[in-house]
């Protein structure tokens, strides 16, 4: 892994965003729509339930913000590869001295920056519009958010690996993969809300434990070490598996000449 190479690849993306501000709309517009819809739904429910308002519903706004952190981190990795496909730059990058590790590390940085932009924006707006301060969770927020980033990177690597394997026709996976797991990820409702027969799926998804842990934290200010431990352990496994899948698919792509098809299609 070479710092100068990672720096160059990150710089390429920063130039891209600075040259085409319309791309920032994607980082702002959809998360903002989510925040407004879920935020006003929360306000509506608060008005009609009075003092009996369950703490889980308060967390809806937080869930929107935190899901977007995961989603933007995943997108940072997956769209990074597609940017090279769309600009027909892929062969220039992969014929340059760029290792898989350099490439992945730069996608992580971009994923982190994207998540940071969106989460800061939404957090500030949540305070202004709904008096919801995600940072009331104090330092317990940090390891949970870090786990969301890790899982976003894993999903991004899986998305990219599948696109590499199946070609440009599979581009839509860059957006779809996070939503494959969202119903089981306990984002807006606890794992208990799922039918017992499928709860085991949620147990295997790191972000389900993040959202569970953060709901508990909102209830009594405590840190759910069990959920944090489960999320971290699962994330380590997913990162290793996703990395192996990415490397395996790149190897397959080189064996089958798949990278060159992105240029010719």
């Amino acid at each position: 892994m070479t710092f100068s190479t990672i720096h160059a690849l990150v710089l390429r993306n920063l130039y891209l965003y600075s040259r085409t501000p319309v791309r920032l709309v994607e980082l702002v517009f959809w998360p903002l729509v989510d925040l407004l819809v879920w935020g006003y739904l929360t306000v509506f429910l608060q008005k009609h339930t009075g003092d009996g308002f369950p703490y889980q519903i308060t967390f809806l706004i937080g869930a929107v913000i935190l899901w977007d952190i995961l989603f933007r981190a995943q997108q940072g990795v997956a769209l990074y590869f597609l940017e090279d496909v769309w600009s027909r730059n892929l062969l220039n990058v992969f014929s340059a001295p760029v290792t898989n590790a350099d490439y992945l590390a730069s996608t992580y940085v971009i994923g982190f920056l994207r998540a940071a932009v969106t989460s800061v924006l939404l957090s500030v707006l949540a305070i202004v519009l709904y008096s919801f301060n995600l940072f009331e969770l104090n330092w317990s927020l940090v390891p949970f958010v870090f786990n969301l980033l890790l899982f976003g990177w894993s999903l991004g690597m899986i998305s990219t690996a599948l696109i590499v394997r199946w070609g440009p026709a599979a581009e839509t996976l860059a957006w779809a993969v996070p939503f494959f797991i969202q119903p089981f990820a306990a984002v807006y409702y606890p794992i208990d809300a799922l039918p017992p027969a499928i709860r085991w799926i949620a147990e295997l998804i790191p972000c389900a434990h993040v959202f569970e842990g953060m709901r508990d934290g909102l209830k009594d200010g405590s840190i759910s070490w069990l959920d944090l431990g489960k999320a971290t352990g699962l994330n380590v496994i997913y990162l290793i598996l996703a990395g192996m899948l990415f490397v395996r698919m790149m190897k397959t792509a080189r064996e089958r000449g798949l990278l060159t098809k992105f240029v010719s299609q």
Partner: protein
């Protein structure tokens, strides 16, 4: 005697039952311009992609600067470069931004100065602040070539660099190709459909057909071997198929020693 910059030995690529490259062997000497000539489907681009490490060979070996490409790919790629008509640099970035990114990847020292040098060499210094996507085809090709020259490569792979260029720009590209060989001693592997390119620029030619090498030699040697008056007429004859062996001496395919 200096070791060749590039040694391709018994190289094979199979995609399922298709064999676009079928046991080719050739060498590129230091400071030489070697043409890779053949019709569509001859296997030129697959061969280039294998030399770049973008496609893994099914069999055979590629040694660059005396090193095994399969084992030391990244170290080798730092000393070589690639330019193709079929790739582009990100169109949203300015010319200098694209060159800065690749200059940093190749760890080019004094990068700003080097960017000005290559832009001046290709006569597009005035386009330095232009958005790359707004360049004409000729300007875009020259920008690609600037990218490829940034790291002063010891081995340069040019994949049809003059395709779709007008005669004036194509002539400039040919002149630059010869100039960097003369000034920097760069070894160049040059694929083209343009017979004038091959005759004017290349010291020797690897003539490919259906994944195999038909002949390796100078343009004059090839014409003599196949009893043709021009590379173009030979190219057409080979592309239309089946008559080459009947029209030539029944001797084994020549390979450069």
């Amino acid at each position: 005697m200096q070791a060749p910059v590039l040694e391709v030995t018994d190289l094979v690529k199979e995609f399922g039952s298709v064999r676009p490259v079928d046991g080719i062997s050739f060498e590129l000497k230091r400071g030489e311009i070697l043409g890779l000539l053949g019709a569509n489907g001859a296997g030129k681009t697959t061969a280039i992609n294998m030399i770049l490490g973008i496609v893994t060979p099914t069999a055979g070996s590629i040694r660059v600067f005396g090193k095994d490409l399969a084992k030391e790919r990244i170290a080798i790629l730092r000393r070589m470069s690639f330019c193709s008509t079929y790739t582009q640099l990100p169109g949203n970035l300015r010319v200098w931004q694209n060159l800065t990114v690749f200059g940093k990847i190749y760890r080019v020292p004094n990068l700003k100065k080097r960017i000005d040098e290559v832009l001046e060499l290709l006569e597009i210094l005035h386009l330095k602040d232009r958005v790359s996507g707004n360049l004409s085809a000729g300007e875009s090709t020259r920008l690609n070539l600037c990218k490829a020259l940034l790291n002063k490569p010891e081995l340069l792979l040019l994949d049809e660099p003059t395709a779709s260029l007008d005669p004036d720009i194509a002539d400039k590209v040919r002149k630059v190709t010869k100039r960097i060989r003369e000034e920097d001693g760069t070894s160049i592997l040059y694929t083209s459909h343009n017979m004038r390119d091959v005759e004017e620029v290349c010291d020797r030619v690897v003539f490919m057909h259906q994944g195999k090498i038909l002949f390796v030699g100078t343009a004059a040697e090839i014409l003599s071997h196949f009893r043709e008056e021009s590379l173009e007429s030979l190219f057409i004859r080979v592309a239309r198929g089946g008559e080459v062996e009947a029209a030539t001496d029944p001797q084994p395919v020549s390979r450069d020693q």
